[in-house]
Amino acid sequence: MVRPANKRPGQSRKAQYGLFAAYVIAVTGAVAGLLLAVLSVVDPVGFATLRVASHEVAAPIARVTRSVTGSISGIDDAVSAYVGAGSQNRRLRKELAETRRKLVATSSLEEENRQLKALLQLQQTDKAALAHGYLLTSTSTSSRRLALLSIGRNVGVAAGQPVRGADGLIGRVLTAGPSVSQVLLLTDVDNVVPVRRARDGLPALANGRGNGDLDIRTLNIANNPFKPGDILVTSGTGGLYPPNIPVAIVVRRQDDGALARPLADPAKVDAVAVLRPYTPDNLEARAAPAAPPAGTP
């Protein structure tokens, strides 16, 4: 490609000024754009509403392509399943035997638990979901893990509500548009979820790695108590996520915690449920009818 000949505008003042103005606009615009980016990192919710319109445009097409092709993200899993079929079969058989033994133990515990609960007359927490939808698509070119949920404000979805699948936690609603909403997935680098180990309630923090895995860090740094296979559930600490939603399973230990894989894979999950955020007002609202009617005037 030869160097463009008419780059130097020659003697024409108009052309000179035009070229100069183009560069001034470009440099000013670039600096303003980067400042805007920094601002929108600081205040993600305020600027994310700008994006709602584009998502409303993209969503209908995503609905069509989803119904036509189904989810194409399972291709890599299908290939690797063929490759690892033999060793996986052995491992699964071993796991099945172990799980059967555990199931027997658990069923007795469950019965005991039911009796104890009946004894205490504990109120079952409200597990009803606010709304159900499905994940349409996601931002697959940027380093942020945002997915589009097929429902929006039309069914009462609002920012900050937790989203879960049948297998476990998916993420939380970042912004809600009129008919679609944006979900910040569990694996986003900026998403921190307070969790506890299901076995003994050891508190920890789950932090997304951005590549589908989670970093688990304990709150006390004395030693590293995690073992592969540990199940982590939400602890409910700090509000937002209701307690006891399955989050992840520990894959291997690391220097400062563990590497875990989310239990719910957003690429394969069929339907997701939007839950009420676990906030103090919600707790009070839920506790109010349970409280005995005191002698109030």
Partner: protein, 173 residues
């Protein structure tokens, strides 16, 4: 004069000449959000950015240097990056292309490939660093490395596609 049919040697319509490049970039930017793919890492190459760079490498004088402002805003709306990232970075990339086209007298295919790969890598890395200011930089760069490699390998294909679109754009009636 008979205006019904095309006349011999008449240039392509002005509309088509202007719309085709812009539409190809905008469509490529919006395409990833329209696919039913819930990705757990940045797997798709930044197609809008690749078309944007390839058009400028092919026809440096076609667009003013500030064209990255509107096209970057459009890409930001669909890419999920903080709004303003692509506005700034794409404009800086097009300034860099104008600079390269002045410095290198005869740009060949490998020059174009190198420039596009370098700029795509720089833009993706900078976008990741802007989007997550609190995360460790090494980990973020590791996250975008696969995408950068795929983008670099796809540059020749996108140069070809751009060339095909350019032929369509300038085809005489």
């Amino acid at each position: 004069m008979n205006r019904a049919g095309p006349r011999l040697g008449e240039p392509a319509s002005l509309w088509r000449m202007r719309i085709v490049p812009i539409a190809s970039v905008m469509l490529a930017s919006a395409l990833p959000l329209m696919l039913p793919l819930v990705a757990s890492s940045p797997v798709l190459p930044p197609m809008g950015l690749l078309f944007f760079l390839c058009w400028q490498l092919l026809r440096t004088e076609m667009w003013p240097v500030w064209i990255g402002l509107p096209l970057g805003l459009w890409d930001d709306l669909f890419s999920g990056a903080p709004i303003g990232t692509a506005i700034g970075l794409w404009t800086l990339a097009s300034i860099a292309i104008h600079y390269f086209s002045q410095r290198i007298y005869w740009r060949g295919f490998f020059h174009d490939w190198g420039i596009a790969a370098l700029l795509a890598a720089a833009v993706q890395a900078a976008a990741a660093l802007i989007a997550h200011p609190h995360a460790p930089a090494g980990h973020l760069l590791g996250l975008v490395v696969p995408q950068i490699i795929v983008s670099a390998l796809l540059v020749p294909l996108f140069l070809r596609l751009t060339g095909a679109f350019d032929n369509f754009r300038l085809k005489r009636r």
